[in-house]
Amino acid sequence: MTDLAHIRNFSIVAHIDHGKSTLADRLIQSTNTVAERDMKAQLLDSMDIERERGITIKANTVRIDYLADNGETYVLNLIDTPGHVDFAYEVSRSMRAVEGSLLVVDSTQGVEAQTLANVYQAIDANHEIVPVLNKIDLPAADCARVAEQIEDVIGIDASDAIHVSAKTGIGIKETLEAIVHRLPAPTGDENAPLTAMLVDSWYDSYLGVVVLVRIMNGRLKKGDQIKMMQTGARYGVDRIGVFRPSMQTVESLGPGEIGFITASIKQVRDTRVGDTITHEKKGIDTPLPGFKPAQPVVFCGLFPVDSAEFEDLRDAIEKLALNDASFSFEMETSAALGFGFRCGFLGLLHLEVIRDRIEREYDIDLITTAPSVVYHVYMKDGSMIELHNPADMPDLTYVDHLEEPRIKATIMVPDEFLGDILKLCQDRRGIQMDLTYAGARAMVVYDLPLNEVVFDFYDRLKSVTKGYASFDYQLTGYRQDTLVKMQILVNEEPVDALSTMVHRDRAEMRGRAMVEKLKDLIPRHMFKIPIQAAIGGKVIARETLAALRKDVTAKCYGGDVTRKKKLLEKQKAGKKKMRQFGKVDIPQEAFINALKMDN
């Protein structure tokens, strides 16, 4: 049991790749939280996808004990957060559970778009902020310039920013001392009724549903009867513990503490992030404010390649949805693809991560249909339909007009690439709202349609600026525009899973890009295949995929028929990764990749 004065709770926030997880490594290591032999780089990035892509996707909590210079031991709960814009929701949620933030800024890069976004969120959450200038071991580090930039652009005092190399360990001691002395202790009353914030929950294959909680008031013990205030669900607590970072059970959690509980929770929907947990008896009446729910902005259909795996897919999706409150789903059927789910995501990376996880962790091959944002379709009778799937676009004779989501995009870019960025935004129907300079870096703010941004804008941005630009966005609202549904016809037959909404003026360009892309993505068949883009029956772009010229085994090995048969079986297995539309096999990855434009 720890008194409040000896607890510090904080999140580590930064732009992508500025070194949050590496800093977490050093904090964990220098306090001997993990045995030396179990240490590895970005220890907290434990998912395969995180390790492969080298990024954090899921926020992670660790409790460490720190013996400070004043001779006293403190309990530090750190939350390492993701930096990519798609996972901003993880950051905002994590911030609600703690009182302070370490704002990590790469001293070779300076303030980037997510640095700003994170600071605003931290200020919103009333956090004490400690700036940390990282990567000072690198020759390109320029702490003075970056500190100045923090003061100019963000407007917070950076005179006592800590100079750190998370890689070599410089400044770690100073960071730990700053956490103890500059961040506030939590407040709370042990004797008040239990008030606990449900910060996160996920499915563990051994323990079932695990719930991450932050205790505000009162004490939570093993065996307690609790209720979730929003959902009304009631449970007995089986297990209480903390992350170090492996799970370690404890007897109870008191005010200011962060830990997990398990309670034989069966229903996924019973644990809603942002909910308040209290005791069933003598609980509180008014829940905590809760979190602003995450708004999925990209939707697509997920269908099993093998339709017999629909139930397995349902199971996988339900479990993943529990790990990830920002992902939504509902059942969908399609004439060509059978049963599947229409799912909502925070961005394309988020979509790809969920899809990869289903494929790997649950071993289900998926068809992902062309992603779409949500349009508002205003009907002539005055009603409005939220269109998540272009295939559901109502008959135009009943439609009055359409609105599409717009965003405010903030882009930070070195001066020399500014021209490329302005062109990119212009090409994507952007309206410039602001342009300011901080040293040699420009900060541009654009009003852009979300559908021009969501699929490949980030990739394009990185490639035209050699990785030097950064980008953040927020949804601002809906605006009317001339949007049309573009269909793709493969071998003269419309493929719903490839339908998209496009701006009328950009339709030819988009259509041409898509059919060209599809020509590369679809393998050659025994016959030639016309691939067309059409609007309301009028073809606006066309390509022809030439017929497969040759596919025959040249040699005959004596009488070894078996060998030939094996070859054929191998080819057939490859075919299973595709879905048939009429007589055409379309590979599973084609539906997303067709939307990515190369230039």
């Binding site: 025994m526 025959v552 040249a554 005959c556 028929v561 054929l568 075919k575 007589k583």
Partner: protein
């Protein structure tokens, strides 16, 4: 009722697993050995012949094939002894075809007269290319001139001579191949096997290819053009493409390979040899141990077969289809239906015929020239499951 194999005939394949050098593209069961006890091999082959003869008494043999490896490394007297034993053990057709695969070096050509004396009446020579630079790149140890000399000797000794060429080689242009093939056709042969170079796993080329170090292979379209040119040039010279890679003047087709393609029965003897054998109404697939040492030892106790598996009728139907559609003459749908217990999938067949890949009549299904180029795709449509 007659067994199915009788529609295809009865042949015997004998595998000689040794070569002078291993070619970098080759994934046949061939080995380079320092010394070979030819007599021991002879004894093993003889014992095997006797064992199979007791299983197939009275069957009329249509063809014998000495394949490899490089059977032209066999001493003519052991070839003689084997052929004599075969003639003793089985009744043979009047026009029994006895083919021997030969490499075109001068040493081997010196043995041709001996093979002819032994009863070999057809030679299939692995010439592969008609210029030294390409022969060298294919890892061949003979020159083009040597090959031509060997070819002349063969023609004096045997009434039927065929040779193999490999095309779609590194840096080969369409014009190169057309010129080379024209030269081959000028030699007035009546049978040619023309194989597109295939990069096989487990070969030196396969290894180089995987490392991205095998340059200059023709792209698919060029390879397809070469295939088409091959059909055109051979056709114009009167050598019809009776099978995917085989061309012959009518009547000069290889009877032996036709037994495979018509899905007859064949005994396979020797390391790694495959056979199809109907015994007591059931068709079996036989596979011999492939390591030469292992096989030779096993032959002493007549335990050469690594596998002998009964083939389900549906699988026989698939095999029949896979082999039969390689032939220009096509297959009998009734024979397929009899094996499979159901006819070919009507819808898929109609579709293939609509797009011009197959031609059907009530008693024949054959792939068109276009269909043969994409035979694997055609088979995928027709082989269900």
């Amino acid at each position: 009722m007659a067994d199915d194999w009788e529609n295809g005939g009865f042949g015997l394949y004998l595998h000689w697993p040794f070569c002078q050098a291993k070619c970098p593209y080759c994934d046949f069961n061939s080995h380079v050995a320092r010394s070979i006890d030819q007599n021991a091999w002879l004894q093993a082959y003889l014992a095997q012949l006797q064992a199979y003869a007791t299983l197939t008494p009275g069957r009329v043999l249509h063809s014998v094939f000495f394949g490899g490896g490089t059977p032209s490394l066999m001493n003519p007297d052991i070839v003689h002894a084997i052929i004599a034993e075969i003639r003793r053990l089985w009744p043979v057709a009047n026009d029994l075809e006895i083919t021997l695969e030969a490499n075109p070096s001068s040493v081997e050509a010196g043995r041709f007269a001996g093979y002819a004396d032994a009863g070999v009446n057809r030679i299939s020579m692995g010439i592969q290319a008609l210029n030294d630079a390409d022969l060298h790149r294919l890892g061949r140890i003979h020159t083009a001139a040597e090959a031509m000399q060997a070819f002349d000797i063969a023609r004096n000794q045997f009434s039927r001579v065929s040779f193999d060429l490999i095309y779609a080689r590194q840096n080969q242009t369409l014009a190169d191949w057309q010129a080379e093939l024209a030269k081959a056709l000028d030699l007035a042969v009546d049978h040619l096997s023309l194989y597109q170079l295939t990069i096989e796993d487990g070969t030196a080329f396969g290894e180089r290819y995987a490392r991205g170090k095998l340059h200059g292979l023709p792209p698919d379209d060029l390879a397809a053009d070469m295939y088409q040119a091959t059909q055109d040039l051979c056709g114009a010279a009167g050598l019809l493409g009776y099978e995917v890679s085989n061309h012959a003047r009518p009547g000069a087709e290889s009877r032996h390979n036709r037994v495979y393609w018509r899905y007859g029965d064949y005994i396979g003897i020797g390391p790694g040899a495959h056979g199809r054998l109907t015994l007591g109404g059931q068709r079996y697939a036989t596979v011999h141990w492939s390591a030469p040492g292992k096989w030779l030892t096993a032959a002493q106790t007549n335990a050469t077969e690594q596998h002998r598996d009964a083939i389900a009728r549906a699988d026989q139907a698939d095999e029949f289809l896979m082999m039969g559609l390689r032939l220009a003459e096509g297959i009998s749908p009734a024979r397929y239906a009899h094996l499979a217990g159901r006819p070919l999938p009507e819808k898929n067949l109609r579709y293939l015929s609509d797009i011009g890949m197959v031609e059907t009549s009530h008693d024949n299904i054959r792939v068109t020239d276009a269909g043969r180029m994409v035979l694997n795709g055609v088979l995928k449509e027709l082989i269900t499951g």
